[in-house]
Subunit: 229 residues, 2 copies
Amino acid sequence: MSKHDATPEANGAAGEPRLSRASVQRFSLYLRHLERWKKEGLEVVSSSQLGDALGINDAQVRKDLAYLGNLGQPGIGYYTQELISALRYRLGVDHTWNAVLVGVGNLARALLRYGGFAQQGFRFVGLFDADPQKVGQKIDGLQIHSPEKLAAVIAAERVDLAVVAVPAAEAQQVADALVAAGIKGILNFAPTLLRVPTHVSLIAVDLAVQLEQLAFLVHLAQQESTDAR
Amino acid sequence: MSKHDATPEANGAAGEPRLSRASVQRFSLYLRHLERWKKEGLEVVSSSQLGDALGINDAQVRKDLAYLGNLGQPGIGYYTQELISALRYRLGVDHTWNAVLVGVGNLARALLRYGGFAQQGFRFVGLFDADPQKVGQKIDGLQIHSPEKLAAVIAAERVDLAVVAVPAAEAQQVADALVAAGIKGILNFAPTLLRVPTHVSLIAVDLAVQLEQLAFLVHLAQQESTDAR
DNA sequence: GCAACATTGTGCAAAAGTGCACAATCCTTC
DNA sequence: GAAGGATTGTGCACTTTTGCACAATGTTGC
């Protein structure tokens, strides 16, 4: 969904194998499972356990994890805590990220209430909405500001990330304001392609597209079962 | 995110080039841009226009579109309307899909209000929530049912798709009930890996993972700019 | 009707991603 | 302290995806 933004290559050095885009996609999922297992008291995990959890090959898991350094113990596996720390460090979630949320609709409320973010080290420090009726209200202790205050809050709170959850028609305008305010990354839920400078990272989640993909898979399965007759 | 479910190969015939997984991912995006352009009065589009819109190579676009048949006119491009029809047909969104929504929280409300679905041919015909307080309430004219009625509604309304927006702990249980009720595809927003039979298609959207990916991209960009010094 | 131009469809090669297989390593048991 | 079992790291081959380059085709202007 975001094929044409910042490249995930990160080696000052020369011939080292680059960190593959696909691997990074899986890193978050590894992390989630590891943290659950850690809570359940599992001190050591193997590549095949992780592979099963994600539905992928165990060799793939080992190759992914090799990017973190040689953490694996042959004959044993990986120490859960060590792996978690390495993953968090490599993903950049070993410290808290401050984020703002623009567009306080139902999606925004859902995101705020969804505990997963806080647990992963993300902290929403500002809400913004253009609707004057909403400005001044509080949600979960956070006040809704007018968009004019974007730059001020972003500077004052050292905000790096922004979530855009406004209608498609306003999204680009919001993005431009965020970029101007010095934001470094945008998570876009508006169903439109945002144009941002290369120094700003962008991830887009298009919910309608996801449902369409699902429809396609079902459509396909039906065709196949028809063909098979 | 859903690498191990239904395969997108759909050829009864023998040696035809299979419809590539990556292409399908882009089909929805092509469709969105085409529908916008159509509205703006554009009768004809070229592969390079589409490529620019998606940030990919124009040859890639032509290869994707070749799966729809030889719609392109050399020297001209593609007729917008014809391409839209072909895409909708191939994606299976040339007719309306009925869907149910399980778990009526803020995310569900956001999805219901999000016009994109109706526009793309998706219709929510039933809401379900285990909370007795919510059962009986109405949202946008749709009544919230108890989960016990899942099977009945799914059968009566010919529902093929379900959106799961319940907490992670309940998701698998809900999925099992949906599968038992004969659902054909599940769009899962719960941050957990659902296990479903192979004849049920599955797409998972994990919002926390997306934010983590964004953090990684920003983290990486910062490292790079540090390295460059 | 012909030259100039734009654009498609596709063979081919390069790149990226995946999976197998096996040597190397470590633990456990006797 | 040696054998057996478990597990990693990785070379190699295979598959999928992407990008280039160009012949083939259609349009437009004169």
